[in-house]
C-alpha cells in the first residue's frame, strides 16, 4: 500500500546520516534558496515598478516638449492674420475673370512660400491653404496624391469648432512626399475675426525630425524602442525606421494610456510605458524588455546563484563529511557491538577526535576493556579456585602422608606397641574423615585446629622428639569458623624445612582475636611460629611476591602458602590473607588473618556473597 510506503519513508526511519543531510538542506539550502528567490523577484518587481513610474513622467516631459513645439507650429498659421492683403483675398468669394483669380493665387502662394517655407522653420515641408473653392499651396519638396484641403472638405472632415489646431496623421491622408518622408499634418481653421466667418483651413506639413530630436534626448538603451502613434495606433514615428507607417494593433488593449504596464503578449515580458498628449491625442510609447531592464540585476543574480551553488556544494560536502563523521563511528560501534555480542572482546573503536564521538569511542573502549578485565578476572578466580580446591583435595589425600603414616603404623605394629597403634589409627581415621567429610569450605576453628593437631601428632609419632608442638586456641573454636585446610599447608612447610636442621623443630600455633588495621575491626589471627632455619631476606621478598601475585605459579616453592593466601583473599577480600615474617637462622612466623565468622549461616552468606561478587561468567551476555 501507498501508506505503507509512506510509513517506510518516514523521517524517523531514515538513517542518521540521511537525517543530518536532510536537516541541513531544510535548515540552510532550502530557506536560503527560497529567501533568495523571493528577494530577487521582489527586487525585480520593484525595479520594474520604479521604472514604470519614472518612464511615464519622462515620456510626459517629452510629450510636453513635443507639444510645445507643436504649439509653436500651431501658432504659425496665425501669421496670416497680419497680412490684410491675404485676408482680403481669402475673403473674396467670386471672381470676374480667370486672370484675377490666378493673380490672387500667385499672391497667396508667394506669401505662403515667403512666410512658411522660406521662414526659419525648416521642419515645415509644405503649407496648404484651402478655402471652399480654392487651394493655395507651397511645398519644399515634390509631393503626390490629393492635397489635404480637397479631400477634407469633400469628406466633410470635422473641423475643430474652437479653432484649435488639430493633427492629421499620414495614414488618414492620401498625400505622399518625396522619399516617403514621414510627416504630420497640422490643420487649423482660419477665422475672419472681424466678420466672424471661416476663411478656410490651413494645413502645415511638418516633418518629424523634431520628434526624433526630442526623443533622442531621452536616455534610451539599445534594447528599448520608442514610438509615437495616433489614437488609432498608426505609428507616425518609431525608433525603428521601418516601422513608421505601420500600426500598433494592440493599442486598444492597453490597460492605461498614461502610465506603464507589463505586457506578456510577446516572446518575452516587456515593460511598456505610454503617455498620451491631451491636446493632440498622440501616444508616445516606450517599450523595453524586462530582461534588459533587470540585466544588471540578472547578472548579480547569476553571480549570486553561482556563488550560492558553490557554497551549497561546499557546505553540502562538509555536511556529508560531518554526517559521516558522526554516523560512521556509530555504525562501526554498532558493528563492533555485534562482535562483542558474539563474544569477541578484542575489539577497538578507533577515534582520534576529542568531541562527543571520541568520548563515546573512548568510553566504549574502556567499557570493553573493563568487561574484558572482569571476565578475565572472574575466569582466573574460577581457575584459581578450582586449582585451590584441587590442591586441597591433593592435600587431604596426600599419598605420601598416608604412606608415611602407614609405615609408621607398620613399625609400631612390629614393635607391638598396640596402644600407640590404636591411637595412630584413630587419629588417622579422624584426619581422613575431616578430609573427606562435608563439602563445605568453612569449618569450625575447633575442627581445623583439631586437624592440624592430629597432623602434628602423626608427625610426632614419626619423627619423635625432633618435632615438638604447642597449640593455643584462645578463641571460641566451637562457634567461630574458618576456611578448611589453611593451617596444615603452613605447618607442613614448617616441618619440611625445620626437619632439615639437626636439632628438630618446634612449632607453636596460636589462634587469637586481634584488631586488624586493614579491616578496621576484630579479626581472627592464626600464628604459626617455628624455630626453623628461617628464610633469607631476599628469598622472603621473592616468596611474599609470589604469594601476593595473581599469576599462577607451578612448582613447589611457596605453592602451599600462596594457595592459602589466594583462597582467603578470594573469600574475604584483600584486607585478609597470609603474611610471613622470618629471621634468617632464627625461625619463621606465618600469620593468617581472617574475619570473625560467627556462625555457619553467616559464613554461608559470606561465601555466597563472595561468590556472587565474582559471579561474572563469559556465558552471561550482560542482558
Amino acid at each position: 500500500m501507498i501508506f505503507e510506503r509512506i510509513r517506510r519513508l518516514r523521517f524517523r526511519s531514515f538513517r542518521l546520516s540521511t537525517k543530518l543531510m536532510i536537516t541541513y538542506l531544510l535548515l540552510t539550502v532550502v530557506p536560503i534558496s527560497i529567501l533568495g528567490a523571493i528577494s530577487y523577484y521582489q527586487y525585480r518587481k520593484s525595479i520594474e515598478q520604479q521604472f514604470g513610474e519614472h518612464m511615464p513622467r519622462t515620456l510626459q516631459l517629452a510629450n510636453m516638449a513635443i507639444e510645445k513645439r507643436m504649439d509653436e507650429f500651431a501658432s504659425l498659421p496665425d501669421l496670416i492674420y497680419s497680412s490684410s492683403e491675404i485676408i482680403s483675398i481669402l475673403r473674396k468669394e467670386d471672381y470676374g475673370n480667370q486672370s484675377e483669380k490666378l493673380q490672387d493665387e500667385f499672391i497667396v502662394n508667394n506669401y505662403l512660400t515667403r512666410t512658411y517655407i522660406n521662414g526659419n522653420n525648416p521642419d515645415i515641408i509644405g503649407v496648404f491653404m484651402a478655402t471652399p473653392d480654392r487651394l493655395f499651396a507651397s511645398t519644399r519638396m515634390n509631393y503626390a496624391g490629393t492635397e489635404p484641403g480637397q479631400r477634407h472638405f469633400d469628406l466633410g472632415h470635422p473641423l475643430d469648432e474652437n479653432g484649435n489646431a488639430k493633427l492629421l496623421f499620414p495614414n488618414e491622408l492620401d498625400l505622399r512626399f518625396e522619399n516617403g518622408r514621414p510627416y504630420l499634418l497640422l490643420m487649423k481653421q482660419m477665422t475672419d475675426f472681424d466678420n466672424r466667418r471661416s476663411l478656410g483651413t490651413m494645413f502645415l506639413a511638418i516633418r518629424l525630425d523634431f520628434i526624433e530630436s526630442v526623443l533622442g534626448e531621452l536616455e534610451n538603451p539599445e534594447a528599448a524602442e520608442m514610438w509615437v502613434m495616433d489614437r488609432e495606433g498608426a505609428i507616425i514615428y518609431h525608433t525603428d525606421q521601418t516601422k513608421i507607417g505601420g500600426t500598433d494593433p494592440r493599442l486598444g488593449e492597453y490597460p492605461v494610456l498614461n502610465g506603464s504596464f507589463k505586457s506578456f503578449t510577446g516572446n518575452e515580458p516587456r515593460v511598456v510605458s505610454v503617455n498620451q498628449s491631451d491636446r493632440y491625442q498622440w501616444v508616445i510609447a516606450h517599450s523595453i524588455s524586462s530582461a534588459a531592464l533587470t540585466e544588471r540585476t540578472d547578472f548579480y543574480r547569476n553571480v549570486t546563484i553561482v556563488v550560492f551553488i558553490v557554497f551549497a556544494i561546499i557546505t553540502s560536502v562538509l555536511s556529508v563529511i560531518l554526517a559521516l563523521n558522526v554516523s560512521r563511528p556509530i555504525k562501526r560501534l554498532s558493528s563492533l557491538m555485534k562482535h562483542v555480542e558474539l563474544g569477541n572482546f578484542s575489539v577497538d573503536l578507533k577515534a582520534n577526535s576529542r568531541d562527543e564521538i571520541g568520548l563515546l569511542a573512548r568510553s566504549f573502549n574502556s567499557m570493553i576493556a573493563k568487561i574484558r578485565e572482569l571476565i578475565q578476572q572472574n575466569y582466573y578466580i574460577e581457575i584459581r579456585q578450582k586449582e585451590a580446591e584441587l590442591y586441597a583435595l591433593q592435600t587431604q589425600i596426600n599419598p605420601h602422608f598416608i604412606y608415611n603414616t602407614l609405615e609408621t603404623i607398620g613399625m609400631a605394629v612390629e614393635e607391638e606397641e598396640t596402644e600407640q597403634v590404636v591411637h595412630m589409627v584413630t587419629v588417622m581415621g579422624r584426619m581422613l574423615r575431616y578430609s573427606l567429610g562435608n563439602d563445605s569450605r568453612l569449618v569450625r576453628i575447633e575442627d581445623e585446629v583439631q586437624h592440624v593437631r592430629d597432623y602434628l601428632v602423626m608427625q610426632k609419632y614419626r619423627f619423635g622428639s625432633r618435632v615438638d608442638f604447642d597449640i593455643a586456641l584462645n578463641v571460641d573454636g566451637s562457634r567461630l569458623h574458618t576456611p578448611k585446610f589453611i593451617l596444615q599447608p603452613v605447618v607442613e612447610n614448617s616441618i619440611k624445612y625445620g626437619l632439615e636442621s639437626v636439632q628438630g623443630v618446634r612449632i607453636a600455633v596460636a589462634v587469637n582475636r586481634e584488631f586488624g588495621a586493614a579491616s578496621g575491626k576484630q579479626d581472627i589471627v592464626f600464628r604459626i611460629r617455628d624455630n626453623g632455619p628461617g628464610i633469607a631476606p631476599d628469598r622472603l621478598a621473592g616468596l611474599l611476591a609470589t604469594i601476593r601475585s595473581n599469576s599462577l605459579v607451578h612448582g613447589k616453592s611457596g605453592v602451599g602458602l600462596k594457595n592459602v593466601h589466594a583462597r582467603i583473599v578470594m573469600m574475604f577480600g584483600g584486607e585478609y590473607g597470609l603474611q610471613v615474617d622470618s629471621i634468617h637462622g632464627g625461625g619463621t612466623e606465618v600469620i593468617i588473618r581472617i574475619p570473625v565468622i560467627e556462625s555457619a549461616e553467616s559464613a554461608q552468606e559470606l561465601n555466597q556473597g563472595s561468590e556472587r561478587h565474582h559471579a561474572i561468567n563469559p556465558n552471561d551476555r550482560g542482558g
Binding site: G52, N195, F264
Partner: protein, 344 residues
C-alpha cells in the same frame, strides 16, 4: 503530521508562484490617470454672463450681440444680452438691477456714464457677480477690467487724420458724439483735439453735438450743423450713429463731396454712402469680435484667469493689456474699395 506540513509548504509555494506570475496579458505598473483623476476637477458649471450694451437697436451693438452669442455657443456659456431703449445711464441702471435679480455670474457693461453706474455695479459685486466693462468704461473701482476695442489715443488721432486727409488739412469741422457722459467717446474726442492742435493748425473745431446715440437726434443735429455752419468742411462722427446721420443730412443738403464725413460706424450702415462718395473713410473695429471677446474673457475670469498681455484668444487673436485695460486690436478703415469685404 508530515502530510499537514507538506500541504502547508505546498500552499506557500503556490501563493508565491501566483504572486510572481501574471494574471493576464497585461499587468499595470503605474497609472498616471489615476493620480490625475484623484486631483479633483471641478465640474464645468454653465455660467451665465449678462452683456449690457449702451442701448439696444443699434447695428453696432447688434453685431456685438452676434459675436457674444457666437461665443456663448462655442464656449458653452449662457449669455443674456440686454440693454436700455436709449443710451441713458438711468435706464441702463434699471436694466442692470433687473439682471442682478437673475442669478447671473458676470456682468459686462458698456457704460453710458462712468460715475452714475458705480453704485449699481457695487451692488452687483456684493451679489457675488463679477463685473467687467466693454466698449465704454466706468471708473476703475466699478469693474475688474475694461475691454477696449482699440487704443483710444490711436483711435482719436487716427479719426482726426482721416478727416484731415479728406479735407486737405484745412477748414472747419464738427464732432458728432453720442452721449457727453460716455467715457470712451470723451476720451476719443480728447485725442481728436490733441491731434488737431498738434498737426493741423489750419483746421478748426466749431462744434460738438451730442445725440445720445439716437438716429433722430443725430440727424436733427447734423441738419442743424450744416445750417449753422455753411462753410463746414467736415464732420467726424464719434459714435456709430453719427456718420450715417451726417451722410444722410449731407446728401439731402446736396453737399456731397463738399462736406466730408468720416468717423466711427459699421460698414453695413455706410456701404452705400461710401460707394456714392458721401463718406470718405469710416473707421471701426469688428463689434462681433468685441462681443465674442467680451464673453470669452468673461468666461476666463469666472474660471479664474485674468487676461494678460499678448494672450491669444481663440477666434479673436492676440490682445494687448495695458494696466487693467484690454485692447482688442487696431482700428480698421473702410473705404469704398474694401467695405464689401465686411458684413457688419
Amino acid at each position: 503530521m508530515a502530510r499537514v506540513w507538506l500541504a502547508a509548504v505546498f500552499v506557500v509555494l503556490l501563493t508565491l508562484a501566483s504572486a510572481c506570475s501574471p494574471t493576464g496579458d497585461y499587468q499595470i505598473l503605474y497609472d498616471q490617470d489615476e493620480e490625475r483623476s484623484a486631483k479633483e476637477r471641478h465640474p464645468d458649471r454653465q455660467y451665465t454672463i449678462a452683456v449690457v450694451p449702451k442701448r439696444e437697436g443699434l447695428d453696432y451693438f447688434e453685431a456685438a450681440k452676434d459675436g457674444a452669442f457666437e461665443a456663448a455657443k462655442e464656449l458653452g456659456v449662457n449669455v443674456l444680452f440686454r440693454g436700455p431703449e436709449t443710451a441713458d445711464a438711468d435706464a441702463q441702471i434699471r436694466v442692470i438691477e433687473e439682471l442682478i435679480e437673475q442669478d447671473i455670474d458676470l456682468l459686462a457693461v458698456s457704460s453710458n456714464d462712468p460715475k452714475k453706474l458705480l453704485p449699481v455695479l457695487k451692488r452687483a459685486s456684493d451679489n457675488n457677480i463679477a463685473v467687467i466693462t466693454w466698449d465704454s468704461d466706468t471708473d476703475e473701482e466699478g469693474r475688474a477690467f475694461f475691454i477696449n476695442m482699440v487704443d483710444p489715443e490711436t483711435l482719436g488721432r487716427h479719426l482726426m487724420d482721416t478727416l484731415a486727409w479728406s479735407t486737405g488739412e484745412r477748414g472747419k469741422f464738427a464732432i458728432m458724439t453720442g452721449s457727453l457722459s460716455a467715457a470712451n467717446l470723451n476720451e476719443w474726442m480728447h485725442w481728436i483735439k490733441v491731434q488737431q492742435q498738434e498737426y493741423y493748425p489750419n483746421m478748426e473745431l466749431v462744434e460738438i453735438a451730442a445725440n445720445n446715440d439716437s438716429y433722430e437726434e443725430a440727424y436733427a443735429s447734423a441738419v442743424r450743423l450744416l445750417e449753422s455752419h455753411p462753410d463746414l468742411a467736415g464732420i467726424i462722427g464719434n459714435s456709430s450713429v453719427g456718420p450715417p446721420s451726417a451722410a444722410k443730412a449731407v446728401k439731402e443738403a446736396g453737399k456731397q463731396g463738399e462736406v466730408k464725413v468720416v468717423g466711427l460706424s459699421t460698414p453695413n450702415l455706410m456701404r452705400d454712402a461710401l460707394h456714392d462718395g458721401t463718406v470718405q473713410v469710416i473707421t471701426l473695429w469688428s463689434p462681433k469680435r468685441l462681443g465674442y471677446l467680451t464673453v470669452a474673457l468673461g468666461k476666463n475670469l469666472l474660471d479664474g484667469t485674468l487676461p494678460y498681455d499678448g494672450q491669444f484668444v481663440n477666434k479673436v487673436g492676440n490682445v494687448r493689456v495695458k494696466g487693467d485695460m484690454v485692447i482688442m486690436g487696431e482700428p480698421l478703415d473702410f473705404t469704398k474699395d474694401n467695405v464689401d469685404q465686411y458684413d457688419f
